[in-house]
């Protein structure tokens, strides 16, 4: 199981890094989404893996639980990464509408204001 989780994190990271190195804003946003998954799983895994040990206290009898703290942290991280993705999408959208293209690199000879004629 550990190998699966570690490889998941690795594959997501690799895919995310490859996508953020693309030249258009949309794949970069997708790449960041993949990286968010990777980071969240990574953080979650820092509490070590456990099966059938949900951190819901049992009313009767003794039970063992997984580490709840990383879960709490990841929960908010998921929500925050959603907020961040949403802002990025909007910035990407606004940049596209303002500039008329969605390239993320400034090309030599073109200023930040964008090309109005396209």
């Amino acid at each position: 199981m550990e190998i699966l989780i570690a490889s998941t994190v690795g594959v997501l990271t690799a895919g995310g890094v490859y996508l953020i190195l693309r030249l258009r804003s949309f794949p970069v946003i997708l790449g960041i989404a993949l990286l968010s998954y990777a980071v969240n799983v990574f953080l979650f895994a820092s509490g070590r893996l456990a099966i059938d040990q949900s951190p819901i206290l049992a009313k009767y009898g003794e039970a063992s639980y997984t580490d709840p703290l990383p879960q709490a942290l990841v929960l908010t991280a998921i929500v925050i990464s959603f907020g961040m993705t949403a802002v990025l999408v909007m910035i990407g959208l606004a940049a596209y509408l303002e500039a008329g293209h969605d390239r993320i690199d400034i090309v030599e000879g073109e200023d930040d204001a964008g090309d109005a004629q396209s």
Partner: protein, 953 residues
Amino acid sequence: MSDGGTFLIIIALLPFLGALVPGIMIRAGRTACATFTAVPTGLALIMLLILAPSVMRGEVVQAELSWLPQLGLSVSFFLDGLGLLFAGMVLGVGLLITLYARFYLSGDDPMGQFYTYLLLFQGAMLGIVISDNILLLLIFWELTSLSSFLLIGYWKHLPEGRQGARMALTVTGAGGLALIAGLLILGNIAGSYNLTDILQAGDAIRASEWYLPALILILIGAFTKSAQFPFHFWLPHAMAAPTPVSAYLHSATMVKAGVFLMARLWPVLSGTDAWFYIVASIGLITMVLGALIALFKDDLKALLAFSTVSHLGLLTMLLGFGTQAAAVAAVFHIINHLTFKAALFMTAGIVDHEAHTRDIKRLGGLRHLMPVTFVIGTVGALSMAGIPLFNGFLSKEMMLEEASHTDWLSNRYLVPALATLGSLMSAAYSYRFVSHVFLGPVREDYPHTPHDPPFGMWVAPALLAVLVVAIGVAPFLAEGLVTVAANAVTGADLHPHLKIWHGVTPALWMSVIALVGGAVLLAAHAPLDRLWIAAPRPEAKTIFDRLIAAVVTATRALTEATHNGANSRYLAIFTVTAVLFGWVAFSGSGLAAPTRELLPVPMVIAVGWILMIVATGSLVIMHHRRFRALVLIGIIGLSISAGFVYLSAPDLALTQISVETVTIMLLLLALHFLPQATPRESSTGRKLRDGVIALAAGGGVGGLAYAFLMRDVDTISGFHLDNSYEGGGGTNVVNVILVDFRGYDTYGEIIVLGVAGLVIFALMHALLDGPAARRLRNADYAKDLSRDRHPMMMVVVTRVLMPIALVVGLYIFLRGHNQPGGGFVAGLVVAIALLMQYMASGFAWTQERKKIEYHTLIGLGVVIAGLTGAGAWLAGQPFLTSAFTYVHLPPIEEFELATAMLFDLGVFLTVLGAVMLMLYSLSRIARFAGTSVNVEPMDYDPGDPAYDDGVER
């Protein structure tokens, strides 16, 4: 804390609180504004006078508030003799300047701003002189740089004002940086950041190998502030400020801060060769050079500015001598220089104000037109020259006395000769101030015929002139203050006697030479002046400007070389660097053996894993088709949610699924306005390069994850598990952590989410005002729209689903404390339910039925969460302590009421508001793009008889 300590803290706070007043009071008129500015200063001065008697007896008033004890930073003040002297100067002159400025500033100048800046500066300056903690002192030090920037650049319309302010800020700010380093080293050697402790550790500090670096850094700070050579050039340019500012900053306060610092640290730093040769030499050079330049300045204020530079050099030199007698002379001269120089600056301001020029070559003969000003100016100038019976004479005599027996590299004559030369030129420019401005015949060609100003304007310098004469005639008046201040500087118990007549000493002869020689020099001024103008000499401002230009060019070249605008390049560099650092860190130390065993992998999970890997791989390969990429992202997200379910994280699974849904919805909506495909434009080499980087990063992170997954770790989670039910009242530990143990984090996070929603809203607002709006109107998005945008099936189903979804949301919310769920998930679920309505029935139709603004929802959420947290204060508990109780109402089962639930309600509302606001912003774009607005739920009404024959109306 003693009463005195409380007073001290109030004194430190008063100017800052007072700074709020002038901006408001200016509405009540200029006199009211000035009066209300004087109130905090006056109050602080009165409190200081109440504390004065005990300080004069040799006591030290202390006050301390703990701030960041871990860093050795505390808000601690102390008032000893030196602090009393400087605080008295800051407040006393501040009061006079307030009065003077009321009459000096013209009707066009925003007076409220001026007084606000003035009080800010006064507070900062006051803070420096009474701080006990050197870190606190540094904060005030930087504050003086900033507030003096505002004051010097007060006349924003004058380029000289702006340039002078920038130059002052650059030089003193750079010096401040050096000072930070120096004081940190000093604190490190002494083992404490409290001045009182540092002052006890003098021997250890001087013996330390870090003594010299600390000394040099601290001196750079002090020299830049006190305009010592070669940093003296900023001060004359700062004269572009209004005269009240010059009089305040450059006679009594700002430039004396450096002198104060040297005096404050005198017991610790002085007494070594390094101290003597650096401080005394620089002081001597500055004194002579400043006096020389002052002699040939035609601008009255420039003359006074260079004279100030010269006198600051004199003070620095005296402190540099390192003897107790020299320290006494320095303290005495600080008082004397303050009195005559502030009076002279104000006189120059009056002349400028009345004659509309302060060019000496255009003045002369003002004695008859401005008799009062003439008397004040003359008293000040004669004191500056060092004429007996004025106070400047007394301290100058003491300086010459000290200089007369100081050897420099075993040369007996160098220091006395140069000191005499400095005094001689000082006498010369003082004579010139009087004779070329006031004496001589009355001229016909003043830009404006001058006369004496109103009483309010000359009374402040007149008071100072009275002090000049009083101390000059009866020096014992100042003896008490000089004694306590000098004792504070030297740490010794001195009993200096200030006298006019010391007998026929070498100092007397030097004085005579200076006074007579000064008169000779004045007589020869005209030819010398022509020589001076003809002679080439370095212009500090040009050098400074070139230096700044060179720095700007260099940094611009560096920026352009590294930041060429290629975002993908930065990201690649960043990733490679991170991988390399990770590699170095990882290979540095060996890993311990694994302590955990691999968990088994059931078949279902293996299938899910394969699904996820394949989806990720496909996404990378097929990301050019954007719509398909979104579908793949959805698969990845759902696989991860399933993984969370399996690995005992039900809360995470719920959150991930709902976030996934909302994210994909938003991305879909946004994609509508973006190109549908990503062009293939990367070369094969580039793809290969990116692939290698990606694999390295993925391999590194994966390896790291595997490494720690196989090893156990100590966690603090035992505490959370043990206390969740007892202390937090809930059995869902994750939720209790969120709303209770780490509630403050959650509180911050919902605020961030709310801000994200507002940012998006604001972004769209700005966007739709710009060129993008035209582009949207002209774009043809309608072609790919379905003719039936709101199919009946979907409308009906979502309508039925709505109450169910809401109940699910409510259920998830309510059970959150004890079972998986909670505010975050509930907010997302309800948002999805609403989103479905928008999608099915159209934006306008849904909007009409919405009763509350989403902004309000965000605000309400944050406020409810905040108030719930603050409610704990009422019970005397820290912020966000939760309280709970179990209630038993007969027909229902026992249930829990917890304040944490209210907090969770805040979370719920914020999440809901933020998500909906984001959608709302997107739909605004759609409406700009010309999408028609439907008020009916469906484009076609099946019940309308007009459609029976299938013919559109």
